[in-house]
């Protein structure tokens, strides 16, 4: 059973044992929207944007192993509506000021908003009070933009072998904290860490390199996020 077939939105797709639904879909050129997932990292299953139904039950495609004969629904109206609601909730949860964010144009959350056709979130903005940590000479941490996807935590732990970050607090007070003390400057974080690049939004940025790409040429200016998978390009 090393190779088997699953069905995604009525289309038969080859899957390998050990693959998640998301991975099998991606190999077949089907994009399942996601934010916390990043290839090479242990699946997290936190953002829930990749939720599909598998044999009728909702599950996160980034954590659910594909199984022979599995019937996956990815693009139903219901699933799409739910995902849109979810992404809108992310926008009101934090303080996302795209107009001055260095990540704008290359931000996966913003790109997800574009792809889903969100003109404005339908929920009231929460305007939480969050901090900025600019202590590190080369790296900026802006918690206002953080979507708690744990990519930096996982990358630092599993790729950089450093464990610079972890979550503290719970619920709406949950935030990413730094390994030792309160300031990133007191940790061994380095600008060359893979963790810095792993952030899907502008919460973790390299200093002094912002706005380098002209508007119109940024990652998501011309084509929606996910189209590289749908068009079979190397990501």
């Amino acid at each position: 059973m090393s190779q088997f077939t699953i069905t995604i939105d009525g289309r038969e797709v080859e899957a390998k044992a050990g693959q998640t639904i998301l991975e099998a879909a991606e190999e077949a050129g089907i994009y399942i929207p996601r934010l916390c997932h990043k290839p090479g990292l242990e699946p997290f299953g936190g953002c829930r944007v990749c939720t599909v139904t598998a044999n009728g039950r909702p599950c996160s495609a980034c954590t659910q192993p594909a199984a022979p004969g599995m019937i996956v629904m990815n693009e139903t109206e219901q699933v799409k509506d739910f995902r849109k609601t979810l992404v809108e909730m992310m926008f009101v949860e934090g303080n996302h000021f795209c107009m001055f964010c260095e990540k704008s144009g290359n931000c996966e959350l913003q790109a997800m908003g574009y792809r889903m056709g969100i003109d404005v979130p339908r929920f009231p903005f929460l305007f939480p009070k969050r901090n900025v940590d600019a202590s590190h000479p080369d790296i900026l941490v802006d918690h206002n933009r953080c979507i708690l996807c744990a990519r930096c935590i996982r990358t630092s732990r599993d790729v950089d072998g450093k464990q610079v970050f972890d979550f503290v607090g719970r619920g709406a007070n949950k935030r990413v904290a730094v390994r030792s003390g309160t300031r990133l400057a007191d940790s061994d974080a380095d600008v060359s860490d893979a963790a810095v690049e792993a952030c899907p939004v502008g919460a973790l940025l390299k200093k002094r390199v912002g706005y380098a790409t002209p508007i119109g040429e940024r990652l998501y200016d011309k084509a929606p996020i996910g189209s590289e998978i749908e068009n079979g390009e190397e990501s």
């Binding site: 107009m99 003109d119 903005f125 305007f127």
Partner: protein, 181 residues
Amino acid sequence: MAKPRIATTSLCGCFGCHMSLLDIDERILQLAELVDFDRSPIDDIKHISQRCRIGLIEGGCANEENVEVIREFRRNCDILVSVGDCATTGGLPALRNLVPLKECLEEAYIHGPSVHNPSGEIPNDEEIPLLLNKVYPAHEVVKVDYHLPGCPPSADALWAAINALLAEEPLELPYQLIKYD
């Protein structure tokens, strides 16, 4: 038949969205053929004179006067459109939502490093509208029919939107025209 009327205003915004509207360049002549402008900073008419087809709102609501104006627009426009990030989300002015109002005023008029204010007073004239406790996006104050995000929305986006609305077509902008920055 009378041309449809259009009204525009800038509430708590920077007039950048109006500048973007002017950026439609020569198409402004076509626009003048299509519509009559009612209340707008472009013609300096101070109050809406008659029922308008379209109201374009730039800026969020930061003070009581903004609320009065946006309500005037809502009462007198068939279709109300939030134009730009300040109207749709509060935008840059909403940065003050992260700071208590009193602290915000004191920083601006008393404690700020570049402030010269020997009297130590916060401007407080009867004529100055009171600030709201926070900056609100337009749709949290009145019902808004359409949203055009962007800082500012591009001239092309504005042009496409106005044309669609005048033609009574659904407002569906292509991917390249929806931007939050």
